[in-house]
């Protein structure tokens, strides 16, 4: 059980940005938690947020995804990928001013082993159309054994996070 839940840094965008990175993350916590509320300028109702660690791409990541919207459920998996997939984000044609919300948990981020990641997120379009409200559960793995010192978010469609998208990084200590 966590004894602390400390805000390390937060960033609320005042302009659009293709990527948001937390760098020089201190190694003084046990686990990391990220809370994200984001929207992109992707030309559709839903975009997909991706995440990388320590500037590493290549084939270091896998993600198992479960997505439901009330009528359809889809499960898929990516392996040997260049990023972890973090679920849907509202896009440009989603209802105005709607944002996704996501919680990403990274346990034991300084331990010399591969890094598992869990993500739970919702892209809520505030619409009567069930197909516009997605819930995502993702299990990710990064085959990176070094401590995580930076975390970067981007859109898989190379779109931009819009202004007022917010990113919060918390540290958790178990003692």
């Amino acid at each position: 059980m966590a004894n602390t839940y400390t805000l390390i840094q937060a960033q609320t965008l005042t302009t659009s940005a293709a990527s948001v990175t937390f760098s020089s993350i201190p190694a003084t916590y046990t686990d990391l938690v990220l809370r994200v509320s984001a929207r992109t300028d992707y030309a559709g109702p839903n975009d997909l947020m991706i995440m990388t660690f320590n500037g590493t791409g290549g084939t270091s990541y896998s993600t198992t995804t479960l997505i439901g919207n009330g009528s359809t459920v889809v499960s898929n998996r990516t392996t040997s990928a260049a990023n972890i997939r973090n679920g849907w984000v509202d896009g440009a044609t989603a209802t105005t001013s709607t944002f996704n919300n996501a919680e990403i948990y990274i346990p034991s981020y300084t331990v010399s082993q591969n890094k598992p990641v869990s993500n739970f997120s919702v892209a809520e379009n505030n619409s009567a159309s069930a197909a516009d409200a997605y819930i995502n559960a993702n299990a990710g793995l990064a085959t990176i054994t070094a401590a995580i010192t930076s975390i970067a978010f981007a859109s898989i469609n190379a779109s931009n996070f819009v202004s007022t998208s917010s990113f919060y990084l918390y540290g958790i200590k178990n003692s």
């Binding site: 390390i8 840094q9 960033q11 965008l13 302009t15 659009s16 940005a17 293709a18 990527s19 948001v20 990175t21 937390f22 760098s23 020089s24 993350i25 201190p26 997909l48 991706i50 791409g57 898929n76 990516t78 990928a81 260049a82 990023n83 981007a154 898989i156 469609n157 190379a158 931009n160 990113f167 990084l169």
Partner: protein, 71 residues
């Protein structure tokens, strides 16, 4: 030019800069992968739809009737 925002968690300094050529290349690769995934998913769905239609035709029932069988 698209921007990258970097927050230094030790100093609190926020840096805004243009994407590097390497970052743009990574973006393009991710985008290509996303498009390939979408195409593969659409192809899989189309294949399943054709197989379903052929099966219903062989059975001589409609999709609604098939749904009744498994309800």
């Amino acid at each position: 030019m698209t921007k990258a925002i970097e927050v230094n968690c030790t100093t609190g300094e926020v840096t805004e800069r243009d994407l590097t050529a390497e970052e743009i290349a990574a973006q393009e690769a991710a985008q290509a992968q996303a498009e390939a995934d979408r195409a593969a998913a659409e192809a899989e769905a189309a294949t399943k739809a054709i197989a379903k239609a052929e099966l219903l035709k062989r059975l001589g029932i409609t999709a609604d009737e098939a749904a009744l069988l498994i309800a």
